[in-house]
């Protein structure tokens, strides 16, 4: 029972390594953020991922998705019992990776977005499944 609570609700789409071949190339006037959650821990907690207030996907265990944006300044937020925020600036043509980490909270797990190096993110995301943009 506890294991189900801890690990339940994994992403169920195609493997990201397979799906990545069908992702359209980035528009030259835009930037792209890849989001992924590489751990199963706290699987029952799947908050929405918001970019400047817009819900763009969910933080599903072993799930991954991407979101294209105009160059500019952004706040990435996830909320459980608290809101965790990442602020970053994107230039034209940027491709950034945001890992959705899990930490223990008081009542439930917290999910916090962390900007990671591209060489790390581009490898770790391959172990995830494409969970779809929102929304």
């Amino acid at each position: 029972m506890l294991i189900v609570a801890l690990l339940g609700g994994c992403a169920s789409g195609p493997s990201f390594s397979t799906y990545s071949g069908s992702i359209p190339p980035l528009d030259s006037q835009k930037a792209r953020i890849y989001f992924y959650r590489s751990t199963l821990l706290g699987g029952a907690i799947q908050p929405a991922v918001r970019v400047n207030g817009t819900e763009v996907g969910d933080a599903k265990p072993h799930g991954a998705f991407y979101y294209d944006v105009a160059p500019g300044e952004y706040k990435v937020e996830t909320s459980t019992e608290v809101t965790r925020r990442l602020t970053l600036k994107l230039e034209k043509g940027d491709i950034r990776y945001v890992r959705l980490n899990v930490s223990m909270g008081f009542m439930v797990a917290h999910i916090y977005p962390e900007l990671v190096d591209a060489d790390v993110g581009s490898k770790e995301i391959l172990d995830c499944k494409y969970s779809g943009m929102n929304k």
């Binding site: 300044e73 990442l86 602020t87 909270g105 008081f106 917290h110 900007l115 990671v116």
Partner: protein, 119 residues
């Protein structure tokens, strides 16, 4: 019960913030000054989440603030972390890291202590 309510109320998890001071950024012009870090460094801002600078990364000056010269690297992402995480640039003064320039907030976050760097 009362104590429980007291404990869980009032953003109890949002207790660690990055220290930020207003500053004025001026963009650099011309060929940027650059350096390559010889060794890795761990810079504390007093939040319990140090920022790591990787050995071998190349840094280019993109501007300045009153606290020092502002450098950015394409070789690693740079963030400062407390309860929230902020993308940042490196601030160097007289051969030492003195803090970070928060890219979105446009504020200065001081290092707990100066960290001399070998370039």
């Amino acid at each position: 019960m009362c104590a429980f309510g007291f404990i869980v109320s009032g953003c109890m998890f949002d207790v660690v913030s990055v220290t930020q001071k207003p500053t004025a950024f001026s963009a650099a012009s011309g060929t940027p000054e650059t350096f390559v870090l010889r060794e890795s460094h761990s810079i504390s801002i007093g939040t319990g989440f140090p920022t790591r600078l990787k050995a071998g990364t190349k840094w280019a000056m993109i501007g300045s603030i009153p606290e020092g010269s502002v450098f950015r690297s394409k070789d690693q992402v740079l963030t400062v972390e407390a309860s929230n995480i902020h993308e940042a640039d490196l601030v160097v003064d007289k051969g030492a890291v003195v803090g970070f320039f928060l890219v979105v907030e446009k504020t200065f976050c001081p290092a707990k202590q100066r960290e001399p760097i070998e370039q």
